[in-house]
């Protein structure tokens, strides 16, 4: 039998038990940074969490211990007890830096490829399916990006705009795909590591997208959204080059 293709090995890859606690820590930290979970909020009960994550109690407790050690959650005893979000994770600059160091340009391009496919289909459907109520909402969300005062808030505003575009397209699956893709890259985009990303340009592009959707111009909307994503990916690649290869540049000089 031929050895499995890389796609097959992706499907059947083993589930590393040790990394699962870490994955839970990452998932929850990212959700807090994106504003999906907020400070003061109570996490579901331990039994529910381990069921939802599909991990054993020990793995879950390991993850919660790590989150407590980082000061991100606090566990309180008693009747109204549970695990509560108590602070935003660190600015994430270090986490972002290590993401750029460990992610290759080919992988960044590939994220862009997938995002382009999802976004193109989403915006075409949004043109067909969105209505006046959606246009107003999207406009408001587009503007909230330029009004945001910190990289974290810009990341939240940016991702919410794109997710709600998929909501206006009436597709729960595309919305889920968009949420996943946003979680993967939106913080990398807005964390100022090398060249800061300009919120005014991004907002202008978002507003143009809303206009194209409102005027039901799928060709134009698709072209705009592909350009928008290409620009995002170029920014990530620029950052990768600056963060990852600055040292070798110096060596060469």
């Amino acid at each position: 039998m031929a050895s499995p293709s890389s796609f097959q090995s992706q499907i059947y890859r083993s589930l590393p038990e040790i990394e699962r606690a870490e994955a839970i820590v990452d998932r929850i930290s990212t959700a807090i940074s994106l504003g999906l979970l907020k400070v003061g909020e109570r996490l579901p009960a331990e039994a529910a969490l381990s069921e939802m994550f599909g991990v054993g109690g020990a793995t879950l407790r390991e993850a919660l211990t790590e989150l407590r050690d980082r000061g991100i959650v606090e566990t309180r005893r008693g009747r109204s007890g549970g695990s509560f979000v108590v602070k935003q994770p660190q600015t994430q600059a270090d986490a972002m830096r290590s993401w750029f160091l460990s992610t290759s340009i080919s992988e960044i391009r590939d994220i862009g490829d997938e995002h382009a496919a999802i976004a193109a289909a989403t915006i075409r459907l949004a043109c067909e399916r969105a209505e006046a109520h959606d246009f107003e909402r999207l406009q408001e969300l587009a503007r909230s990006l330029v009004l945001a005062h910190s990289p974290e808030h810009r990341a939240s505003a940016d991702s919410r705009f794109h997710v709600e575009l998929a909501v206006a397209a009436q597709s729960p699956r595309l919305a889920n795909a968009e949420i996943r893709l946003q979680q993967e890259t939106v913080q990398q985009l807005w964390t100022p590591l090398a060249v800061a990303f300009d919120p005014e340009t991004a907002t202008a592009e978002h507003l143009e997208l809303v206009r194209a959707v409102a005027q039901d111009q799928p060709e134009k909307a698709q072209e705009l959204v592909l350009g928008h994503i290409r620009r995002n990916i170029f920014h990530l690649i620029d950052t990768k080059l600056t963060v990852g290869y600055a040292l070798s540049n110096q060596d060469a000089q």
Binding site: H133, A157, V163, A175
Partner: protein, 238 residues
Amino acid sequence: MKLDNEVVHAAHALALWTSDVLAEINHLAGHVAELVEKNLAGRPKVDESSLLGLEALSREFLAKNSFAVGAGTFFAAQSVEAEGHIFEWWSHGKSGSSSIEKLDADLTPGSHRYYDYEKLPFFSTAASTGEQTLWGPYIDYLGFDEYIITLTAPFSIHGTFAGVAGCDILVKDLEPLIMPHLRAIPGNAAMVNASNRVIMGNSGTYLVGERIKPGYPEDQQRIDLDVPHLGLSLVYSA
């Protein structure tokens, strides 16, 4: 004119089904108003203590009306103490569990997860028209996070609009309830909402969530469903 007879028959059945749901919702809204007014005991504004018993009303509604996935009340900020936002909405848990849970959403204005329910049409339309309304299909992002329709009726306390009560129905649960009526029509047909969006169609010509394009197909015809204020119609073509 055999086609037309079948269309008229289906339109009648769909209107009847919807009216039955609305009767339940108007009933719920009436009970909510009565209960909150009693809890207020003369005080002007709703606060946490005015909500006693609302959970039981939602649970009764869900027990009686198995088509609904969630039911409850959204209060208008103007009727709430310190212009706050309060909602009491109870839903069947996700992933098919039979437990009923209180819906939780971020009500902090300006937060990036803010669930601004007063701007959502199931609230705003009922508030501005003072009549029952239907919104959807839509993805209730940051609320119930499912693909649903929501039916609501407004209610008043001390003669002033105070909020809406109603229920959510999962689009996938709606399908077996509506489809038999649509399937009885020989051609392509769809139940369509007030903003011209397909709630349910009997073929690929009219797919749920899509908007009806006027004049496509060319022989497209439409009759209004006899349900006050919802703006529902039945669109059909050969």
